[in-house]
């Protein structure tokens, strides 16, 4: 269900009034959960099992982590077998028994269930070990492994198998990894579950933050499940942190008229970005990127720049709508985009672009690796690793790996440049902004291209092909220019002009009429594929 479709409007017409009607009862959280599961199940009800599995496991892992001492005990096997904590003993018995049962079923049961059962045996055995060792670190490890395994299987398995099989073939080794689709139970279709990268990261942040002592344990399963799959941000973020969103679910939010006016404002801007801008730009970009070999240099260059704006409008439009919907219900979701194309350095860009993801990698990858505390070389190594993972997070293809590596390289270069007084003080801000925009646009080629071969072809043709008429509609150019100008004025000393009531009313009315008259249909959001 997409935010800009009529079924979603009907969905909200049911969900919102019931939500407000339940404000004096304890049913508002179950209602939000039911609504969220319905929202997700509309796409594919079978994959609700996956969300439920991930949620349940992390909920219980943190509950078990809570039973373990903060400082890990010295592990002695004889000592381990004497359980002082009854809950851990029960957990051990259940997980060990379940692991044995799953193992037996894997051996004796139908072949179609074997891979799933073996994966369960692995997780259950780890859990039994966690109960045995009474180690917080082990519970955390299980959560990380489980969530990453889900991601690895559903998002990367095909890519990994394909590349490893090619490598094995090159090494003349006869063994081959199976196609992931053959590992699905009962022959279910192997699909990438929408939003898997978002809800697994959100759930994972809870276990990591609890382990570190940054988040409280949530004792109510329904509340925790609502946090993991809160429908406005379930499909494409922003990736919320437990310490920010979970406390908001403790009591019914205070609802004021401003919730609706603010939420409506955010939703309208998001809707306009998606329907009027992103979908329009896609009409120009898609045909060019589908057949790059037939395009001239100017068309490829302009399509690349247009894609940069398309993905910005698409993704930031989605998060604006998500934040607007949450705001209408009295909840605050974190800011995800802050005029990224006005960034003056790549570091600045990543503090403005997909903020919830870049801060996730900062907090859970970059800083744990040592951040910038251990000298330049290690800082660069940490940056490189963080951006490499960020690239892979976006998709299972070499193009995304290269995209991540390019950003890592770019951030290192701008970081070095910023150390020089000349660059810092003498180079005009506009030039820096243009430089960052040009670099980011260049990297979008790898992000958007269908394959590595296509990406290199596009780069080659931009440099060598004839400069034929790109046939980019003037209306499209004008719309993007107006948006850029708006952002530019907003960050300048003329901001007051845009904040005038009549200007706001005029802009909002114009956007609504434009959407009604010209919107180009219900194309899905780009970031849903991640």
């Amino acid at each position: 269900m997409l935010f800009h479709t009529w079924p979603f409007a009907v969905f909200m017409l049911v969900v919102l009034p019931v939500f407000f009607a339940l404000r004096n009862t304890r049913l508002w959280i179950p209602w939000l959960l039911v609504a969220s599961y319905f929202f997700y199940g509309w796409w594919n009800p079978f994959y609700l099992l996956l969300v439920l599995y991930s949620t349940t496991l992390d909920f219980f892992l943190v509950a078990l982590m809570d039973r373990c001492p903060r400082e890990g005990p010295a592990v002695r096997l004889a000592g381990c077998l004497r359980f002082e904590d009854g809950v851990l003993r029960v957990a051990f018995l259940i997980t060990a028994t379940a692991a044995l049962a799953c193992g037996a079923a894997a051996v004796a049961g139908p072949a179609t269930l074997r891979p799933t059962l073996l994966a369960l045996v692995f997780i259950l055995a780890l859990m039994a070990l966690g109960a045995l060792l009474r180690s917080r670190r082990t519970w955390l490890l299980i959560s990380v492994v489980n969530n990453l395994l889900l991601l690895l299987f559903f998002k990367y398995a095909h890519f990994v198998a394909e590349n490893l099989n090619a490598l094995l073939g090159w090494l003349h080794v006869a063994a081959r990894l199976p196609e992931p689709a053959t590992l699905m139970p009962w022959g279910w279709t192997y699909l990438l579950p929408v939003g898997i990268s978002f809800f697994t990261f959100q759930s994972l942040s809870y276990t990591i933050d609890f382990y570190r002592g940054f988040a409280q344990r949530e004792r109510n399963f329904l509340r925790f499940a609502t946090f993991v799959c809160f429908f406005p941000q379930l499909m494409a973020g922003p990736i919320e942190r437990a310490r920010h969103l979970l406390p908001q679910f403790q009591k019914f939010p205070a609802i004021r008229l401003q919730n609706f006016t603010d939420g409506g404002s955010l939703f309208l801007v998001g809707l306009f970005k998606k329907l009027a801008l992103a979908n329009y730009l896609a009409l120009y970009v898609d045909p060019i990127y589908e057949n790059p070999g037939a395009q001239g240099a100017a068309a490829l260059l302009l399509a690349t720049v247009a894609f940069g704006w398309q993905i910005f409008f698409d993704f930031s439009g989605y998060t604006d709508m998500a934040r607007g919907l949450a705001r209408m219900m009295g909840f605050h979701l974190i800011l995800n985009f802050n005029n990224p194309y006005l960034a003056t350095s790549l570091g600045d860009f990543w503090r403005r672009w997909h903020i919830s993801l870049s801060s996730w990698f900062r907090d859970y990858v970059y800083i744990p690796l040592g951040g910038n505390q251990r000298g330049s070389l290690l800082t660069y190594r940490n940056l490189f690793i963080a951006f490499l993972i960020s690239g892979i997070w976006h998709g299972a293809a070499w193009t995304f790996v290269i995209w991540g590596v390019l950003h890592a390289a770019g951030i290192m270069i701008t970081r070095e440049l910023e150390r020089s007084a000349f660059y810092r003080d003498r180079v005009p801000k506009l030039l820096k902004q243009a430089g960052v925009f040009a670099f980011v646009s260049l990297t979008w080629i790898f992000f958007r291209a269908g394959s590595l071969a296509d990406a290199t072809l596009i780069l080659k043709r931009i440099g060598s092909a004839a400069w034929t008429d790109p046939r980019i509609p003037l209306l499209m150019v004008a719309l993007v220019a107006v948006v850029w100008l708006y952002q530019f004025i907003y960050e300048s000393r003329f901001r007051a002009v845009l904040q005038h009531g009549a200007v706001r009313v005029g802009l909002a009315a114009a956007m609504l009429i434009y959407v009604c008259l010209l919107s180009s249909g219900g194309k899905s959001f780009i970031y849903f594929q991640f």
Binding site: T261, L266, S358, Y490, V505
Partner: protein, 375 residues
């Protein structure tokens, strides 16, 4: 990704601050409501079409129901007969002056007594939606309604097959009930269709697309060859042109204007019994609606190209046709079921060629029921 960038998670709500308060929202709603209400009405007042005695809805505007509604309103009620139906009445293979309404006018000795209000691609289930949602002007009129048995000639034509292929005029179909097995659309498409038929603004927006932008959205139009640097507003026109008299796809000089035998062999048709036919049920509901709106309706059944059927298939069709006539008579609805035209006057299973229409008009005027009714 600097650790010091902790401000990223601060609870900032707005960037660029297009933030409206309640009063401003009211102003926005008022402005938009006025625009949505006024624009279609203003446009309807200003737009003109080149109407002539043989005017019919231009082919490109077959799905422009907003325009069709205005076309029906425009047709004067007094002593005029609206000829309603699908492409057989519209005249798929012929020019405007080769369609049935032209020859009816000619036979009656009038210039525009019979008005061509046929719609290309229509069928009974869509016809029902068209007249229910866009036929407000069909009240107290004299209506010649065509019933084309083609739509019951197979389960596919009757839209009973789950894998039915592409369907025309889906926005006119019942979106919820009765269920049409061949109509596959997601909830968004169905809800959009329901909203469009109830909010004239959306119909008007589609009218602009059909009339000015080559049946595509304005945004798609800007991407069409030659349009990239054109001003979309300059393409707006307040004049609807009549169908061209030199249409290469239609008329005696077109390649398509030839007897069916040139392309088709006699065939066996899997006629759907009337009691289980979705199309026939829709046709019955349409007739009932038109009558309830005090229209004087005469139904023209066929004439279907019986030459196209195999020998053993004809009795099945005849029985079906007789059942249709029997039902119409039982409901006291005047009807004509002329004998089939000569084989060489059909272009396909149901569309006559120009001479076929001329002969059909003569046959109708020879029919006492028709003569009495049309006076």
């Amino acid at each position: 990704m600097k650790p010091e960038a902790a401000h990223c998670l601060q609870d900032t709500t707005f960037v660029n601050e297009l933030r409206l308060n309640a009063r401003q929202w009211l102003a926005v709603f008022a402005l938009v409501a006025v625009a949505l209400w006024a624009l279609p009405r203003l446009w309807a007042k200003l737009e003109r079409w080149e109407i002539n005695s043989d005017f019919r809805i231009p082919y490109a505007m077959s799905k422009d129901y907003w325009f069709y509604e205005r076309y029906l309103e425009h047709a004067p009620a007094h002593e005029r007969v609206l000829v309603l139906g699908d492409s057989v009445m519209w005249g798929e293979y012929v020019l405007p002056d080769g369609a049935l309404p032209h020859f009816l006018n000619a036979t009656a000795g009038a210039s525009n007594r019979f008005i061509n209000a046929g719609v290309n691609g229509l069928y009974p289930l869509a016809m029902e939606g068209l007249y229910a949602h866009h036929g407000a002007a069909l009240r107290g009129r004299k209506i010649l309604l065509h019933c084309n048995p083609l739509w019951m000639s197979s389960p596919q034509a009757d839209l009973q097959m789950e894998q039915g292929g592409e369907i025309n005029h889906t926005r006119l179909l019942p979106q919820c009930s009765p269920r049409i097995p061949a109509y596959k659309a997601d909830a968004d498409e169905r809800l959009s269709a329901v909203l469009e038929r109830n909010l004239p603004f959306f119909g008007w927006a589609r009218h602009l697309q059909d009339a000015c932008y080559g049946q595509q959205s304005i945004l798609n139009w800007t991407l069409a060859p030659g349009n990239a640097y054109r001003n979309p507003l300059a393409a707006l026109t307040l004049t609807i042109r009549a169908a061209p008299q030199d249409d290469a796809k239609r008329g005696p000089h077109s390649k398509r204007h030839k007897p069916w035998t040139a392309t088709t062999e006699p065939t066996q048709l899997a006629w759907v019994p009337l009691k289980s036919s979705l199309q026939w049920a829709a046709f019955q509901r349409t007739v009932a609606r038109l009558q309830a709106q005090h229209n004087d309706v005469l139904v023209l059944v066929g004439p279907f190209n019986e030459h196209l059927m195999t020998e053993e298939n004809r009795p099945v069709y005849r029985q079906l046709r007789d059942e249709m006539v029997a039902w119409l008579k039982s409901e006291n609805i005047p009807c004509c079921a002329p004998e089939p035209l000569p084989s060489e006057l059909y272009a396909d299973a149901s569309h006559p060629l120009t001479e076929g229409y001329r002969l059909l008009a003569a046959q109708l005027f020879a029919d006492a029921a028709f003569r009495t009714w049309q006076k």
